[in-house]
């Protein structure tokens, strides 16, 4: 086995990566930039903690029925016996918290807050993930096309982005989500509401990622490896899929992890305003809205608030770490 970088006639050349990887040259041999990023990420404890929380939340959402079965009560089940009928607030200290009701019960109906938080994670994450996916797909396709082809194609797409970004999204979302009937597009109930929210959030936020991808494509297009591919006779699709996209994955991933928490907040806001997923389906935003009516029972607001806060924080910490790992020079 020869020395790692021992190439005839080049022993004197400096190896910039050796500096980057520290003293151990051998450790980086044959590593892709993705693998190097992973090594960096593994050293970032804060980002790892964020990732841990995210994984935990996803598991909670996935296994919500199982968790509730063992640790709580069905989220829609009333427990009037836990409510003081004169004040309509929970009996017992701390809003009725006990081993049986880990986070206590809601005022009025006595539903199990723990179960509703667990089930609320499903709606929150589902909508945030799907909306992000939708905006990433639309934004990437249109961004690459605008950046790569340029000319009038770029002009049309860029103007469309401006129009979408100038759109008063919240007002529009409230109006649209308000007027759509209980049954539409062959869907009804929660499925319809979730699809609607995914569409509204995803469809109107694609220009953010679109702009990032377009900008990156514009700068990548000037790189000589694109010219090299063209001088070999490569066609548009080859250049877009084989040369450009692999270089866009990092910025797209970074953007996605940072936009998921924004979407979680947006969904919570819509649910809070009563135009999200409809009650009695539990959502964190919806719970906050109800809690606002019972300000004498602060624990009712604390748990959904905390859930939103922890989730958003976890995604942001992970997203920051991911950005540092994928792009150590920063931007």
């Amino acid at each position: 086995m020869t020395a790692p970088l021992d190439v005839p006639g080049s022993a004197t050349e400096a190896d910039p990566e050796a500096v980057l990887a520290g003293a151990d040259r051998k450790a980086i041999q044959g590593r892709s930039l993705g693998q190097i990023a992973w090594m960096r990420l593994k050293r970032d404890k804060v980002a790892l903690a964020g990732a841990g929380v995210i994984i935990f939340l996803v598991l909670v959402a996935l296994f919500a029925p199982l968790i509730v079965k063992f640790l709580g009560h069905p989220p829609l089940e009333f427990h009037r016996e836990k409510i003081d009928q004169s004040t309509l607030t929970p009996t017992g200290a701390f809003g009725g918290m006990s081993w049986d009701y880990l986070f206590g019960v809601e005022p009025l109906w006595g539903r199990d807050i723990f179960s509703r938080i667990v089930y609320g994670a499903r709606i929150s994450l589902l909508i945030a993930f799907l909306a992000t996916l939708l905006s990433v797909v639309i934004g990437t396709v249109l961004g690459v096309v605008a950046g790569y082809f340029g000319g009038w194609v770029d002009t049309v797409i860029s103007r469309a982005m401006d129009v979408f970004l100038a759109f008063p999204l919240l007002v529009f979302a409230i109006a649209l989500a308000g007027v759509v009937p209980d049954q539409a597009f062959g869907m009804s109930g929660d499925t319809l509401r979730v699809s609607l929210l995914v569409f509204i959030i995803g469809f109107f936020s694609w220009p953010y990622i679109g702009r990032i991808v377009r900008g990156q494509t514009l700068s990548l297009r000037e790189r000589e490896f694109i010219d090299a591919a063209r001088s070999l006779g490569a066609r548009g699709p080859y250049i877009i899929f084989r040369e450009l996209l692999p270089n866009l994955i990092a910025p797209i991933l970074i953007y996605a992890t940072l936009v998921i928490p924004t979407n979680i907040l947006f969904e919570a806001a819509l649910s809070f305003l009563g135009v999200g997923v409809r009650p009695p389906t539990p959502t964190w935003g919806g719970m906050l809205a109800e809690a606002a009516r019972f300000y004498t029972v602060p624990h009712f607001a604390i748990f959904p608030g905390l859930a939103i806060f922890v989730t958003v924080l976890a995604f942001n910490l992970f997203g920051d770490g991911l950005r540092d790992a994928l792009d150590p020079r920063g931007r």
Binding site: D6, S10, I28, R31, F225, D227, A228, L232, P246
Partner: protein
């Protein structure tokens, strides 16, 4: 050199104007005359060096010839075929024969691809099957350019500048081209490595019967490798001659100025040469000086230089110059000029 009379590449009055637009409506307000009417031939097996200061249109010329850019005017003939405005589809098979080495080894290799993928890309793009598979073919080429074939699975960031340039060279060799345009192949490299890469290019030329156009921004890099040298200034050819003639008796004042920037190895001879320092920067190709474009910096400039453009004429055997007052002209040619 099989048929010395038929050029492999023939460039005739080639032009490239980049439009300069303004405002929302993209109104054209001017043009960068990056390449403005240059003609030369390149013959099989030879190396043509193209020299000029940065910004004088060398890269643009290379990109026009390889049809990465669409010429504004003039003609490019490759093996007698007019490729000036040939569609990219029809160019595809011809691209195997003409390849380009790029200036910046850090931007010319896709950071997300392995060396194997980069050097194997020509086979994939051109749909070529090799006898023992692409991997074997790639490894043979890696060996040819002095890289370890076991580095097949490594990524560009794991290599130094010189090694990356070797990877770039390997990629151009994959399709066994007839001609390679090398755009400043060593100017991004450490001086200590430049010679290695130039030597590699020379070895490959002998081994694979290649024809080169080697672009450089000073005369020292191409001195060793070129058979003929062309000097460019602001989109124009100002001098074109056999290497020996150009280095020993440069006629154009600009070439003389460039020459005095080349270090003389022998200290005893250093004082023989009067040092000419070029004044000022290259003027903008947006509004190049009229007539002789060099007149703003030329110490021999006369009134005529500002009104009449000197044509590129053969003043000695195989020695073309575009100047009203060339230096060291043989007697009979001097008479022809003044006549």
């Amino acid at each position: 050199m099989t048929t010395p009379n038929e050029p492999l590449l023939s460039v005739q009055d080639l032009q490239k104007y980049f439009p300069v637009t303004k405002g929302l409506l993209k109104r054209q307000v001017g043009a960068v005359k990056a390449v403005d009417g240059i003609s030369f031939d390149v013959f099989k097996g030879e190396t043509l060096g193209v020299v000029g200061e940065s910004g004088c249109g060398k890269s643009t010329m290379g990109r026009l010839v390889t049809r990465l850019l669409e010429p504004t005017g003039g003609k490019v003939l490759f093996e007698g075929q007019d490729i000036t405005h040939m569609s990219q589809g029809r160019l595809r098979p011809l691209r195997r024969d003409m390849q380009m080495i790029f200036q910046d080894p850090f931007s010319s290799l896709n950071p997300r691809h392995t060396v194997g993928a980069i050097v194997g890309a020509p086979f994939r793009i051109q749909g070529i099957k090799t006898e023992h598979g692409t991997k074997k073919a790639v490894q043979e080429i890696l060996e040819l350019v002095g890289l370890n074939p076991e580095h097949y699975n490594r990524y560009p960031h794991e290599f130094s500048g010189g090694q990356r340039q070797r990877i770039g060279i390997a990629r151009t060799l994959a399709l066994k081209p007839k001609m390679i345009i090398a755009d400043e192949p060593v100017s991004a490299l450490d001086v200590s490595i430049q010679a290695q890469v130039v030597n590699l290019l020379e070895d490959l030329q002998n081994e694979l019967d290649l024809t080169y156009v080697v672009i450089a921004h000073d005369l020292s890099v191409v001195r060793h490798i070129s058979d003929r040298v062309a000097v460019m200034y602001l989109g124009k050819l100002v001098e074109l001659a056999d290497r020996k003639d150009l280095y020993e008796s440069p006629m154009h004042p600009y070439t003389n100025a460039l020459m005095s920037a080349v270090p003389i190895p022998d200290p005893a001879r250093r004082n023989d040469r009067e040092r000419i320092r070029l004044q000022g920067d290259v003027p903008s190709p947006l509004s190049p000086p009229p007539a002789c474009r060099f007149h703003t910096r030329c110490w021999k400039a006369q009134a005529i230089c500002k009104v009449e453009e000197p044509p590129l004429v053969e003043l000695a055997s195989r020695h073309q110059v575009a100047c009203h007052f060339p230096e060291k002209v043989p007697q009979e040619a001097a008479e022809a000029v003044s006549a």
